[in-house]
Assembly symmetry: C2
Homo-oligomer: 158 residues x 2
């Protein structure tokens, strides 16, 4: 394994963005790998399932499939499968929407809520363990700057 010198440098500014991007990717992958592993070992679940449940937990009275996929920024067909499996396990269920026979609301079951609450508490601790190297002030600043880095398309603010 012999590292080769970089090729010609196209633009200083874009090189800097690229460096930042690679750093973001590195942090994201490390943290995500940790979370995935822990969710698997301690709760026998997966990150996508956790993400879906997290969204459903926030919107306690249910979300439409399309809202769910938009909130998670994943494809439509994707959530179908995940919700299917959550439903099989009795953690979520589809309820028909009164005025619209195309749509379906998805919501956590009672068991789904309880299950998620346990997972979420652990999840928060894990994230802090993985990412706690910054003081509160720094952490907030990085978050702010990251938001600012997105040049556009920053929809659905929290």
């Amino acid at each position: 394994m012999n590292k080769i010198k970089e090729s010609p440098a196209p633009s200083p500014a874009s090189k800097e963005s690229l460096r930042l991007w690679l750093r973001i990717l590195k942090v994201q992958r490390m943290v995500e790998a940790e979370l995935r592993e822990r969710l698997r070992v301690e709760f026998d679940t997966t990150l996508p399932r956790f993400d879906v449940m997290s969204a459903l937990y926030r919107y306690r009275d249910g979300m439409k499939m399309s809202e769910l996929s938009r909130a998670l920024k994943v494809s439509n067909g994707n959530v179908t499968g995940i919700v299917d499996r959550l439903a099989e396990d009795g953690l979520a269920l589809r309820v028909p929407v009164p005025g619209d026979r195309r749509a379906a609301m998805v919501r956590l079951t009672k068991r789904g809520i309880e299950t998620f609450e346990a997972q979420a508490a652990a999840h928060e601790v894990w994230v802090h363990e993985a990412l706690g190297g910054l003081e509160g002030e720094e952490s907030a600043m990085v978050a702010r700057m990251l938001d600012h880095a997105l040049t556009e398309g920053d929809d659905d603010a929290e």
Copy 2:
């Protein structure tokens, strides 16, 4: 869709880490979706293929499969499939390692190198377009702080 108020707050510090994590995730997903789409439309390829080729481009004289999976932080079996497909397309190839009949070196073909160079140039521009909202100094600072946020396990520095 009716947003429900947050549940009890476990710890201020971990809440702050969680906020940062969600922000990182948001940025990562937006940029990645953009890159994936562009790679698909303009080069008929995928992000994982690009990642593998990127690693092989840096280590021009080849990497072992295990080095590749370690560098990309993905599982062993994963790269097997991706390299298979790259090889089918004539972009990469496996060469036996003289002293070790278990291992195989993977390297880009001439065509693989040319293909990647075109993709990489476009990729860098795309990243800058997506993430160029920060001045060079800020960008570098965020990168530095992100690195610092990882409390441990920060191996293979660049």
